[in-house]
């Protein structure tokens, strides 16, 4: 239960405190990391010079006292031009290993009308060899970032490879007098090609790893009133334990273990110790999740990775949508290449 009045009051008080005590000083203190031992000459590092030159700081007993009393003049550290720009923020972390279905997701800080120059500025290489990738855009739910873009190839990423994405978009046109504000770059590795196919008819999940069989697991899917969506999903997130609730909010339960998320709405692969009998009998009884025997869920939690593909060819629910999760692989390439919300 939350009290909107209290929440607003908290926000306003924190904002007032933060602003009144820490002013946007015209001269920020010089960064201390500049004089870390790894720097050859204290205070004379080449890159520090512009900051140090701008800083007028009283240092008393080692403490920096330059932050108050800037006389109300607010100094912007970001050039004004940046405000008219589309800032691009990568949503996936680099230097990780992902499954071959992992989309490259980025958020864009304002609406824009053309992604042509973004596409032209995008380079994708796999193990150093250039590949043709394309962006597809949708509305985002992230505050401050109205547009979400996904970048992928025609097919799944090649397995056991290094993928390098570079988008040299800064100052390139985003249409209608708007430009992109920054470049992005990302390197990640792909693991083996792991595909899990969940056959509702057989109540089985069949896993292959680089084309070789990697286990068959009993499952129970969604009940007739809450059917599991069909199509191609991708593991988005792994949680040792989660809480779940149903759409109506009539039940809420925590301590659901070995959970691997497949949709934003809350379809997971997870252990269902309370449902062992139905899993063994092949009765679909869940709220849409893929219920697994606890030992199987533990095994799959160890062997599957974020980005691995989980297909539901014959699940009875509505088709998986692009925006319902990492639904990227349900969009045909000829549609994908057109860019969706924003022509690319």
């Amino acid at each position: 239960m939350t009290d909107p009045h209290l929440e607003r009051r908290l926000g306003e008080a924190f904002d007032a405190a933060a602003r009144s005590s820490v002013t946007d000083a015209a001269s920020p203190p010089p960064p201390r990391f500049a004089s870390a031992p790894t720097q050859p000459r204290r205070g004379h590092s080449r890159w520090l010079a512009p900051l140090a030159a701008a800083a007028v700081v009283a240092v008393v007993g080692g403490s920096v006292l330059a932050l108050h009393g800037s006389g109300g003049t607010r100094h912007r550290t970001v050039p004004p031009a940046a405000e008219a720009a589309v800032h691009i923020q990568l949503a996936i972390a680099g230097n990780h290993s992902y499954g071959v279905g992992m989309p490259v997701v980025a958020y864009f800080s304002r609406q824009f009308t053309s992604a042509k120059s973004l596409s032209a500025a995008t380079s994708v290489t796999v193990n150093g060899a250039p590949k043709h990738g394309a962006w597809y855009f949708e509305r985002s739910t992230k505050p401050g970032y109205p547009v979400e873009g996904h970048l992928r190839l025609h097919d799944l990423w090649p397995a056991n490879s290094t993928v390098r994405i570079e988008v040299a978009a800064q100052r390139k046109s985003a249409g209608d007098g708007v430009a992109f504000g920054n470049d992005i770059a990302l390197t990640f590795r792909t693991g083996p090609k792991v595909v899990a196919v969940v056959e509702d008819r057989k109540h089985e999940m069949v896993v292959t790893r680089d084309g070789k069989p990697d286990g068959v697991y009993r499952v129970a899917l969604g009940a007739a009133s809450t059917p599991t969506t069909s199509g191609i999903k991708v593991i988005m997130k792994k949680s040792p334990s989660v809480c779940m609730r149903d759409v109506a909010g009539t039940y809420r339960e925590c301590g659901i273990n070995d959970a691997q998320q497949l949709t934003y709405s809350g379809e997971y692969l997870h252990a269902a110790p309370w449902n062992v009998v139905n899993i063994k009998l092949g009765h679909d009884t869940s709220n849409g999740c893929t219920n697994l025997l606890p030992t199987d869920a533990a095994t799959l939690y160890k062997t599957l990775t974020v980005g691995d593909v989980v297909e539901y060819p014959d699940a009875p629910g509505p088709p998986m949508q692009m925006s319902a999760g990492y639904g990227d692989w349900n969009v045909p390439w000829r549609i994908w290449r057109q860019g969706g919300l924003i022509p690319s």
Binding site: L10, A13, F14, A18, S21, P28, P31, R32, H68
Partner: protein, 169 residues
């Protein structure tokens, strides 16, 4: 891994754009500006040392935020061992706090006084939720706790603040 000039430029850019919001965050977690500045400087120094393994700028910002929260927590812990009374009596910001916000409205002072009386974790969650406006998932990542724990801690924190604001003072 030794920081490269790449790291220098990237961390300097982050320092220019993110120092102020991080100092403001730290200022709400520890009680004085000087300490807040220290905590943030330490966070940037740690990021600079580790730049090789934290490349995407989003990962870097998350890293900085976690460093600031953890740094603030250890400052408070250190202080607690020094002082018998870790949470000063209610009644607003300490008089000896040189950078007490003198122009702060009374209604805001009451909220901040209540905030200072919360246990550390509740204070962190409340500040991250209502000042930094992070989602529950982001708070969970920042603090290294589950989303469920974020929800319950936030709920206890709100209740405690509501009780402090509503009680006899």
């Amino acid at each position: 891994m030794a920081p490269t000039s790449d790291a220098d430029a990237a961390v300097a850019a982050l320092y220019r754009s993110h120092r102020l919001p991080l100092v403001r965050l730290a200022r709400l977690l520890v009680d004085d500006l000087e300490t807040a500045e220290d905590v943030v400087q330490d966070a940037f120094a740690a990021l600079h040392r580790r730049w090789g393994s934290i490349s995407a700028s989003d990962a870097a910002i998350g890293y900085l935020r976690t460093s600031v929260v953890n740094g603030s927590r250890s400052v408070l812990r250190r202080r607690r061992t020094v002082r018998a009374n870790p949470w000063p009596e209610a009644g607003g910001w300490r008089d000896d706090d040189a950078d007490a916000p003198l122009l702060l409205a009374e209604e805001h002072r009451e909220v901040l006084a209540a905030l200072r009386r919360l246990p550390g974790r509740q204070r962190e969650v409340i500040v991250l939720r209502y000042w930094a406006e992070l989602t529950e998932a982001e708070i969970a990542t920042t603090l290294g706790i589950s989303v469920g724990a974020v929800k319950s801690t936030a709920s206890r924190g709100r209740d405690a603040i509501a009780a402090l604001l509503g009680g006899n003072r």
